[in-house]
């Protein structure tokens, strides 16, 4: 039996929990029935953020059957949406994970000035090198001219991207994906933003930190405590005292540029919330979703925008 997972029409970090809930329900039903295939239905999709796209790939990875059979995916029917997903590099990555239904354009990814980095797999250190190399060439001009960020600080952006991707290599226990885009965020902020989205369907923060941190937290231990330990306290699963620098560096960078970092893992989500956003700093009890999903948003600077 095939079980349906609806992809939200407007698929971003805000609608992700709705998607995660549908995914969890379908996975539980499949398990209870002793098998079956998932069908991710994106035919009515109107828009997807980089976070939505890499999150969908993570779901595709997690939704694969034990016998290796891929889940199904119905592609968006709106030609503009379809073209955008192709330019963003989604279908190139999705081909390995889904049996795709619908007509997929053969557009090459990244033929779009807003796509700073198309959806790109991250499996090993070499992939992080390639991502950083690519972004240095593409992002500097956009960060300085469109977002009004000091040219000296563009290196910080590449560092933040590198560290976000390394979380997959160092902790996920599986591969993941990263995408970087710039766009006009009229509805939420009325400013341009650059967004980094990183997702994997690996072990997640709780499992990664459990051997070294669970005892310290006692009854409080769970996904939310693990995220708090990693992002706020700079804790790592390694006993090496230099570990945990990456997330701290990202946090410093987004704070300096009034940006946002949000990490979802398991049933929890933590965020460093800038004044322009109303996200709760910590949420627990969300629908369980495998791995970790990281969102970084760097907005156009106010002085420039005024």
């Amino acid at each position: 039996m095939t079980r349906l997972v609806d992809v939200p029409g407007h698929f971003d970090d805000r609608s992700f929990d709705q998607f995660a809930g549908a995914f969890r329900q379908a996975m539980d039903d499949t398990q209870a029935a002793g098998g079956g295939r998932l069908l991710f239905d994106a035919h009515a999709a109107e828009w997807a953020s980089p976070y939505g796209l890499v999150g969908l790939l993570a779901a595709g990875q997690a939704g694969r059957l034990p016998d290796g059979e891929k889940p199904l995916l119905t592609a968006p029917t709106n030609p503009e949406v379809l073209s955008y997903w192709a330019r963003a590099g989604f279908f190139r990555a999705a081909a390995d994970l889904f049996e795709i239904h619908g007509k997929v354009p053969r557009t090459k990814p990244a033929e779009d000035s807003a796509v700073l980095l198309p959806v790109t797999p991250v499996r090993a250190a070499e992939d992080v090198h390639d991502v950083v190399s690519h972004i240095q060439q593409r992002a500097t001009a956009i960060l300085t001219t469109e977002l009004g960020i000091d040219p000296k600080a563009t290196m910080g952006f590449a560092m933040a991207l590198s560290e976000a991707c390394q979380n997959i290599v160092e902790h996920a226990g599986t591969g993941g994906w990263v995408a970087v885009q710039s766009y006009d965020w009229r509805r939420r902020l009325a400013r341009r933003v650059v967004v980094i989205a990183v997702a994997d369907a690996g072990v997640g923060f709780r499992q990664s930190l459990e051997p070294t941190q669970a005892k310290r937290f006692g009854d409080r231990w769970g996904d939310a405590a693990a995220l708090e330990a990693a992002l706020i306290q700079g804790v790592s699963r390694f006993r090496d005292p230099g570990r945990g620098q990456g997330l701290k560096g990202i946090r410093n960078y987004v704070t300096r540029w009034e940006g946002k970092i949000a990490i979802r893992s398991g049933t929890a989500r933590i965020a460093i919330v800038p004044p322009w956003d109303d996200d709760p700093p910590l949420q627990d009890g969300l629908p369980s979703f495998p791995g970790s999903q990281v969102l970084l948003i760097i907005p156009e600077q106010k002085a420039r925008h005024a």
Binding site: V132, M155, A158, M159, S162, P241, Q245, G249
Partner: protein
């Protein structure tokens, strides 16, 4: 004084051409290469590392290379051999990662500017002690303008 061209070590340590010091694996490979070079040479008090060919250094690499060489925690045989580390060719971007990592460990290194003068990065007091040590070891001298500079002879 031993001199290390970090960009050249990066090319030697990692397959493929990369101008960026990113990822912990790369940092570890570069540090181990540096430690091997140190073991092969006579022990020295001061090591100068040139970052001019390096485009980016991220937090993981700053920790894996600079902090571990100073802290001596590399475990690669050469750890702890660096008593004083002087960095040159360091950009404002490099400093973001280096400062955070060194502050976190309570460590300091010296930075040689393009005009030859020296500063320290890391916690203020540790940095001041490091510069005093450089003078005491006669590795640095005070210029007529009052700045510190490395003795190159």
């Amino acid at each position: 004084m031993q001199s290390i061209d970090v960009s050249a070590v990066l090319r030697q340590a990692v397959r493929g051409y990369y101008a960026d010091l990113v990822t912990r694996a790369t940092g570890r490979a570069v540090r181990e290469e540096i430690e091997r070079a140190m073991v092969a040479e006579e022990p020295v008090v001061c090591t100068r590392m040139d970052f001019s060919g390096v485009r980016i250094i991220d937090f993981s690499c700053a920790d894996e290379i600079v902090a571990k060489l100073v802290r001596g925690g590399g475990g690669g045989g050469g750890g702890g051999r660096v008593r004083v580390l002087v960095l040159r060719g360091v950009s404002a971007g490099h400093l973001q990662a280096l400062e955070q990592v060194l502050e976190g460990h309570g460590l300091a290194v010296a930075v040689e500017h393009d005009d030859g003068t020296l500063d320290a990065i890391g916690p203020r007091e540790t940095g001041a002690r490091l510069l005093e040590e450089l003078v005491a070891l006669e590795l640095a001298w005070r210029t007529p303008a009052g700045a510190l500079a490395l003795r190159t002879a």
